[in-house]
Subunit: 274 residues, 2 copies
């Protein structure tokens, strides 16, 4: 894993052991550009975050949306308005540059991916950081629960569901879930393990029949790559940090910036908070 | 406990068994007025909340303050601006009437206690509800850990400390803690039990020497009543929901309404959330 380009062969490899590197070193490496791939398996032991950057007039409603939907939207940080640092998440953190890649949406429509947002951040911007599943996946792997999408070098499949979120202002819509196939025994252990990670989605929201939560075809995920469910396995579903992106797209906000899926903010916050 | 006036002999007794009553029944009883006392030991099994009501322009910073200080300020609900109902906390809940008693502060100065705030709530008001220690105290009592202030029919002593909160906008100041004396063995069990209640302050922030956290004299609490520390006991300190009230008072906001200490909002949210 270390010293290898992770996401795409066209990317510049990072000059450090990404699995054991300090979060601050990785953020600095991303800041100087060149690497725009996934942060999966990087900075083991530290919380990685979904990012959403909004104009300040939407920020209180988005804070409400996160507070009301803690499973898909576990808040780990909110910036001060116009301040690109989020002190508790990293002393030198600059949210404008420290992700490998950003997605820009105007009026809910995807416009482009970009390696920094120095020109888009304003005095009116507010950044939200939400926990992501990379932290609990690390814990599952440590407990010898294999993860199919990692074995296959794919992104976990994500699906829109019929599970309603609790709306706030312009933010609403169905919960998005990620799916990992495993044996029933593994599903039980994975539930117990991930319950200890409330800041990174916590325990599963469903196990078994996907139609129970409004998913009609597991082979056609809405985001990520299809996985393989083998004989004797059940699909296990976790609330997913794409939920707020989905809610934001429906809210038709002039300008929203998010991380590019998979390219997360690596924070100084330990994964397992007690 | 049931059928008894709880706080003060001058109050009208409530016509229901307050320990086992449904939260909605208690809220309705408070709504019609007459009872202005403590909600301690009421509606066992349900989360009770500290309340802070602010003008909307302070709400985003206060949401940030709570997010950055989850131990003293565990957010369990934020109202929509101007909407006195907070749906997830109770279908029929009306934050203007459903507490036994409110405290009104203007420019940080206490003005009065009042049994409802119908005339003070406006289209611009935002209500925040933060978990309180009554829920974990119930769990401690169930585990046969006696609580001295309850034995003595007093309010738990609360102290300003040197533990800094993470500031947000105008909100800052030291953490306020509550103290419960117990044996070291009980302190260990109480730590493990309360760790399971992150929405109601979680595990202790300190045990032992009060001067370690800047408390000079345990016999002189800043709020509540002094307790008794007996031979072989240690003081155990939990983050306290008075912390945000303390921060709000320093923020010099034109109008802030809180619950009267001890007279909490009783919500429909189970105490032990998994």
């Amino acid at each position: 894993m270390a010293f290898q380009p992770i996401h795409s062969a066209s990317e510049r490899p990072l000059p450090l052991d990404t699995e054991t590197a300090e979060p601050a070193h990785l953020r600095r490496a991303f800041r100087t550009g060149g690497f725009t791939g996934t942060t999966a398996n990087m900075a083991n032991g530290f919380t990685q975050g979904n990012v959403a950057i909004l104009p300040s007039r939407y920020a209180l409603d988005f804070a409400r949306f996160c507070q009301r939907n803690p499973r898909p939207c576990p808040l780990v940080g909110i910036s001060d308005t116009g301040n690109p640092n989020i002190q508790p998440l990293g002393a030198d953190l600059d949210i404008r540059t420290d992700l490998p890649s950003y997605n820009v949406y105007r009026e809910g429509q995807f416009e482009q991916s970009t390696p920094d947002i120095i020109d888009l951040w304003t005095e009116d911007s507010v950044a939200f950081v939400l926990g992501c599943s990379f932290s609990f996946e690390e814990a599952l792997l440590k407990a010898n629960i294999p993860l199919r999408h990692i074995e296959l070098d794919r992104t976990a499949p994500m699906y829109r569901t019929a599970i309603k979120t609790s709306p706030a202002g312009p933010f609403s819509g169905g919960m998005v879930v990620s799916m990992r196939p495993m044996s029933p025994a593994q599903a039980i252990r994975a539930s117990a393990i991930t319950a200890r990670f409330p800041h990174t989605h916590g325990m599963p929201v469903h196990v078994g029949d996907p139609s129970d939560i409004g998913i009609s075809d597991l082979t056609r995920p809405d985001w990520g790559d299809a996985s393989e469910i083998r004989k004797g396995e059940v699909p296990v579903f976790w609330a997913c940090g794409v939920t707020p992106q989905n809610a934001i797209q429906h809210a038709s906000i002039p300008l929203v910036i998010t991380h590019t899926p998979g390219s997360m903010l690596i924070t100084d916050v330990p994964s397992e908070v007690c």
